[in-house]
Symmetry: C2
Subunit: 314 residues, 2 copies
Amino acid sequence: MDWSTNRLCRLLGTRLPIIQGGMIYMSGARLAAAVANAGGLGLLGSGSMRPDLFRDQLRKCRTLTDRPFGVNVPLLYSHSAEILEIALAEGVRLFVTSAGSPRRAIGRLKDRGCTVLHVVASPALAVKCEDAGCDAVVCEGFEAGGHNGREELTTLVLVPQCVAAVTIPVVAAGGIATGAQWAACMALGADGVQIGTRFAMTQESSGHAAFKARVAAAAFDETMLMMKKHIPVRLLRNRFTERVAELEARGASRDELVELLGQGRARRGMLEGDLDEGELEIGQVSGMIGDVPTVAEVVARLEAGYAEAAGRLG
Amino acid sequence: MDWSTNRLCRLLGTRLPIIQGGMIYMSGARLAAAVANAGGLGLLGSGSMRPDLFRDQLRKCRTLTDRPFGVNVPLLYSHSAEILEIALAEGVRLFVTSAGSPRRAIGRLKDRGCTVLHVVASPALAVKCEDAGCDAVVCEGFEAGGHNGREELTTLVLVPQCVAAVTIPVVAAGGIATGAQWAACMALGADGVQIGTRFAMTQESSGHAAFKARVAAAAFDETMLMMKKHIPVRLLRNRFTERVAELEARGASRDELVELLGQGRARRGMLEGDLDEGELEIGQVSGMIGDVPTVAEVVARLEAGYAEAAGRLG
């Protein structure tokens, strides 16, 4: 299928209107470059990288692809300004910002001629992004893995409201692992999709092998949105989330939750493979995923599945 | 568009693969007949009717349409067996059962030659329905109004898993108010859709005018899935749900929630129009709905929106 007139492809300079979500501990240079080489937009997930590692990964990514790639920057982290400056100095011009107001970074990035997308969980924030000068919005539903909005709007309900609310391109995210789900989002009026979990579950993702094996074995009902008194986050159930659930059931305070969470749990779970005590961030769609193929294979399946689904609508 | 080869239309004998959800206090004879006359499957929602009223409504519906219509029967209510016998005696042969195991009713209904669909919130229950002899499953996601599953699977993630798990027709439900959302569900492989909230918000629905006006004014973030320690239910926020939220935040027990809920709150809110103390069951998609047209107008918009969305996929 020819996407050359698709406005997200034109904005990003990609063959396909597919963005690989910038995920902590999953999306380093290998994953971002593989997605770029397969025709999508690869993103380095800076949220789990110290500045030096981030610079190294940017330079490595450049050696692995000559296609455009971008960077995801969660704006709430203390070192996000430093990350942005490193990316700019290294020549990055495609940014997906998240976790915070787009106004924290948009002025600096637009001054440098960058393309900026911001992640939103509500049509109200989508409007604020358009007003602030963002080039597109990534609308991420309740089913998405990791940190999530308090609104709990699902992708099916969120995306058409954002399409109606803004004129800039809308990228659907949350719950998209197959070509059929991609096609469903295009039917809702999205200009493209951002895919996280399915790309986390590839050979090129930097997640620990034990984490990937655990996700591949996950049943349909094994993720849950938790920690709603702190920052809502979708996690795969394990010993740690059992303790979170106990605290939540008895009405624990935000401080108690933060204390239990402690430091470094996501690293422990996703990068180091501690399946019991780590924080295992992954989307609800993990229940549909049972293997760990290459990125090229995932993209080929997405394209074939899209064509099949589009054909179903006649 | 011609749906004559669609297998849900063939199963139900309808022009369109659209089922109107059987909703308490909303779907009496007027609504079910109007949907039947517009080409969908209308359902009487028996869950809020005493047996005598139910029989009257069945007979009234028969006078308002010569097209097939059906009955929704929540199997957990104490009088559900009586309701089923009245429906059979009055000649109903299309049933959508919900809230309980399909095995509670399937034997009796299949013995009488009925078509039986069961509402599910997981692919595991969809498989049990097929094994039990159901003719189709209605797969209802987290975004749906009223009572909901504990799995919290969204329609986008639930539907393709059910499509993969069973060979009988799959009807998508939850979050569907527009032709674009209908088309999205067909792209996921569904054979048709069940639509609740959009049909509750019509002239022919029996909800109180004040309730409909409140839903029409609802913002995108005004419903929430609550009462998870009792039976999860999606409600529009009001003074009552504020008290539920307070109880839940301090870890109240199931008994405390049940005591606050008391008796007759749904009737009070939806039929009698008490917007403060009533239970206002409605879907997340209510944030996209701002008017109360006729059923015929809703169906015309659905068909036009479907064609437009299908065209987008090229």
